[in-house]
Subunit: 336 residues, 2 copies
């Protein structure tokens, strides 16, 4: 093969990215994948099941074939293996609700209102962005993202708790849905969890704790991790998807506070998007930096070297990095 | 290799499509590719050249490496071959301005305001969508898309005009930037062009005709192709990126009118996104149907069989389909 001719294909694919967002949002809201999973294969049957026009459904289904979510054979549509596992509401690992957060109107507006100005300014155009006090997007987050957390919550629990069933006190900072702490409580009936978040978000976490039957060992602290009295001392402090919202100085300050709230030998366990030192691999973790540019004033996807610097400046030692396949995230663990 | 484990990667890539749109819009507006093309390789140099913060530029550049528009070596950034050809303003085939139309706030709003409702209803949520009378989107189109039309305009001119330099009258319906007719006028100094479009759009076409030195052979008709007196008779009527905005009955009605405006033996030449009969290949043409779902009441990317039916019902014969590589479009030619 000789070198291929220059092509504008990537450029056009990228400009119309918002149309892909629109298509998958529509499909999830209409429960299109669930309809096909239930055996509806023709456009007429799918459209009727979803309460949509045949014209709209035919064009949407063809588009979803083009971008890789459906198969088509003659006039019949089917689910790909990935769509059957993750996008059919009947699947135990359905994650479609994530669109309610990741493609919420509020987040879309943050990115598309004036993207060049975000880059000029070097951060979100809306004050503190997503981390403003009591921002309702975190209630949406807690409800929308919980289903995605089953797998990493189990892995994280195994990293945070040694499995010996000894008494252990856990602080879950910015708990959201609360599932990371809840998973530890399910695994160890001597574990006591304290979840910290905005009060409206804690309603979701308390619901989840009650559903999991661990409410009696599930305490809460309402407010900002930067301002609240953390209580303690704790054996483990969880920082799941939290540090990336802030600049390094703010992270270091919070880590000092976390350090003071731990027993000697206690551990901080941070779930994070940690790109390699080149900052452009692996793609999921590296791209997350752009999410922080658009939605926060000074957050970032920090490298492990940067986390090491922040944790060590706050008094921690014994830094370790764990992979969390198949997710894009990693776990940073540090010891007091 | 055994079968790979189920992955939600495509789902997440697709939900955040709007972030890709934001990144490429920012890069084009800030002339990032032009800055790198001029030799600025470090973040400090690129940021200063573009008038942006270093933090914003560092995160944007890394993101553009991840999605394939830039290269990175150490702390130095470079253009990919495709970015150098198409996205550097100094390139003769720069097409970055297409973002002003394809990712304009008006089009984005059409798709993202309520995508599920578009599918339920089977068409745009805004009245006649993009084809409402005097819609200003077409002035943006005429200015933004002209640079992309150099290559197809040359190929289309060769299909429309036999190159013998004989007198020929051309009607260019929905002329936009006017470049398709202008290209024929440049090729054949006996060609007389009549361009039809909304009056504000014709200003752009007339500017382009003057720049090309063919203004004396460039007449105009302001208004709707469905309502205006087309004049004539013409040897060739161009219908470039127009029929896809309307339902088949409307297309057939317009084609009757075009048929009546042609000399016997005259030809209609339609530039179109024509998917294969399976409607899901090739990807660019097939995906275009979704663009019409979101932005029109009843438009579509029609197959060649459907075009054959419409043209023949309007009295045409001798239908032929021509490829237009490397574009996603094809040319349908029919004879009176």
């Amino acid at each position: 093969m000789t070198q291929s001719a220059p092509s504008p294909a990537l450029f056009f694919d990228t400009i119309v990215g918002y149309q892909r967002t629109a298509a998958i949002k529509a499909a999830i809201e209409l429960a299109l994948f669930t309809a096909i999973g239930a055996g509806n294969r023709s456009i007429a049957a799918i459209a009727e099941h979803c309460g949509a026009s045949e014209r709209g459904m035919r064009i949407l289904c063809d588009y979803l074939v083009v971008v890789g979510f459906l198969t088509k054979s003659g006039a019949e549509y089917g689910l790909t293996a990935d769509s059957a596992v993750f996008l059919d509401r009947k699947s135990p690992v359905y994650i479609g609700a994530a669109t309610d957060f990741i493609a919420s109107p509020a987040l879309i507006e943050l990115f598309l209102a004036d993207p060049a100005e975000i880059v000029r300014r070097g951060g979100t155009l809306q004050g503190e962005g997503s981390v403003s006090p009591d921002n309702p997007i975190w209630v949406a987050f807690a409800r929308a993202m919980a289903p995605m957390m089953g797998l990493p919550a189990g892995q994280l629990a195994a990293l945070a708790d040694d499995g010996n069933g000894r008494p252990i006190k856990i602080l879950d900072i910015a708990a959201g849905h609360g599932l990371f702490g809840i998973e530890i409580a399910k695994r160890n009936d001597q574990a006591e969890i304290t979840a910290l978040d905005w009060d409206a978000v804690l309603d979701v976490a308390r619901e989840n704790a009650a559903k999991a039957g661990v409410a009696s060992r599930f305490a809460t602290i309402a407010g900002s991790a930067f301002e609240a009295d953390l209580g303690g001392p704790y054996d483990v402090v969880l920082l799941t998807n939290f540090l990336h919202h802030f600049d390094m100085a703010a992270c270091e300050g919070l880590l000092r506070k976390v350090h003071a709230a731990l027993v000697p030998g206690g551990r901080a366990v941070a779930l994070e998007f940690v790109p390699n030192e080149d900052r452009v691999t692996p793609p999921g973790a590296a791209a997350f930096s752009f999410v922080m540019l658009g939605s926060t004033r000074a957050g970032d996807a920090y490298t492990f070297a940067e986390y090491r610097r922040m944790f060590e400046a706050a008094g921690f030692s014994g830094l370790a990095l764990h992979e969390l396949p198949p997710t894009d995230e990693r776990v940073v663990i540090a010891r007091r």
